[in-house]
Assembly symmetry: C2
Homo-oligomer: 285 residues x 2
């Protein structure tokens, strides 16, 4: 397999040459933002939404992108032509730049990578995922920063608890998973998801739009107690779409299987995304 190309500032370079100097503020001070979108059959999915959020995150961190949404999309298309991967994950990273004093923001460095799409393992949608809760609030939650210190540090804890991922909460009020948003369906068939202290995912927005056509929807604080009492629960993300959550902290949620509202939303979302990224055996559920 030949090396993939990576865009770094002004150049497309083969991945073994795609690097940043160690004076970059991502390496020195963990300062940067990113966004992640996927392509299906050579077509970016929701590029407008992802690029708008990338620009929003950059503004929040006071980083000048120096390029318009249209220019970024053109770069993405150039990268796609060079790499020729039909189904892929595309990541844009913007860092604090090369800081002479290791502390002061400088001209940001822009990196765009494209990789083969990493999807949940086959059967994940049918089995659902298990979460473990953990007290943590992301800094600047409204921006998609590169701060995943806690998420990566918690990996052994998650495995030890027999879980697939972590659900953050603050004094019992849940927020999100490190890379996905969290929803419950209550006993009276209301779809509920936190509205604050979270990153507003693109798929979260699409699911809310779809749900409002059919169900009662509430965006409000959600307590762990409500999660355990929920009839259904699921997480959403660019790669996970609508993925059932069957247990939190070892306690079964609802029937411990895909619920009817989750199923409806999953199908409606797949329909909206021209061709689903899930293999055939997933799509049929």
């Amino acid at each position: 397999m030949s090396d993939l190309f990576v865009f770094v500032n002004d150049l497309f370079v083969p991945s073994p040459d795609a690097s940043l100097l160690v004076s970059d503020l991502a390496i020195q001070r963990g300062y940067g933002v990113f966004d992640f979108l996927k392509t299906i059959d050579h077509t970016p999915v929701f590029p407008e939404e992802h690029l708008a959020r990338f620009l929003h995150s950059a503004r929040q961190l006071r980083l000048e992108v120096g390029r318009s949404k249209e220019e970024l999309l053109a770069l993405i298309h150039l990268l796609m032509e060079k790499n020729d991967i039909p189904d892929s994950g595309i990541k844009l990273i913007l860092t604090g730049g090369y800081a002479e004093d290791g502390y002061t923001l400088s001209k940001p460095n822009l990196v765009i990578t494209q990789n083969h799409l990493q999807l949940p393992a086959p059967g994940t949608f049918e089995k659902g995922v298990r979460l473990v809760s953990y007290p943590h609030q992301r800094q600047m939650p409204d921006a998609k920063t590169i701060d995943y210190l806690m998420a990566i540090w918690l990996q052994p804890y998650i495995r030890e608890k027999g879980a697939d991922d972590v659900l953050y909460h603050k004094e019992g009020a849940i927020s999100e998973c490190p890379r996905s948003n969290f929803f419950i369906v209550t006993a009276d068939d209301t779809l509920v998801t936190p509205s604050e202290n979270i990153l507003k995912g693109v798929i979260r927005g699409k699911v809310l739009q779809l749900a409002r056509q059919q169900f009662k929807v509430e965006e409000r604080p959600v307590l762990l107690d409500e999660v355990w009492a929920a009839r259904e629960a699921f997480i959403t993300s660019t790669t996970k779409h609508v993925l059932p959550v069957v247990a939190v902290d070892g306690r079964q949620i609802g029937e411990g299987a895909l619920g009817k509202i989750s199923k409806w939303l999953s199908e409606a979302l797949s329909h909206q995304i021209t061709s689903s990224p899930f293999p055939e055996d997933h799509r049929s559920t």
Copy 2:
């Protein structure tokens, strides 16, 4: 001026070539630790303490250094020989490594840089510094991680408030500044500093040792109210030593000048560090 050398994994390279691939987990996920020590007249200051803390931070983040303290010190000496800067700042950085999936810890990357020592501007010790408080708690405070998202983001706020740096607190209990520890002297001449939710600075430890010979010392939670009522306040760090704090949130601390206990500690510390890094006009105060 010729390029300085940087140590990256196994090689000494000129700084324009000192880089990490963009797949590194510092760039992808802000995951890494570091330490910073200085050299005076070609001699590292408190290398034992800094290297012990570097290894501690790495352990906390589950990063394998793969080298002993002695091996790291040998690398530092080799770098010092190559760069030949008598008074310098040396930084060791250890990242989460090159992650194929952009998420899973891999073999850590080790970077060691040496730069000319950046000291506080002349007159800073005499004038003292002004702090502004801000509600924030560093993640994993006991490890020197590269997470300075809030510290860098707050730079415009600090300037706007007419301050020199920020003092973090959580519900009124103070912790630390982003790059220094904080002390007060109470009305009854007790030296008090927080003991929890902080990074334990090397100079903090030295100051506590020296203070215990002469004064009553307490390591305990410290409220902002106590700070404003304090007779003296100062911050400590590798480059700042003992630096008087003359105001917090615009409220003058004590006489708004170098206090007698701060002065004693500053002199005792300078005496302990073979030759002071402060220029002659600073040392005399």
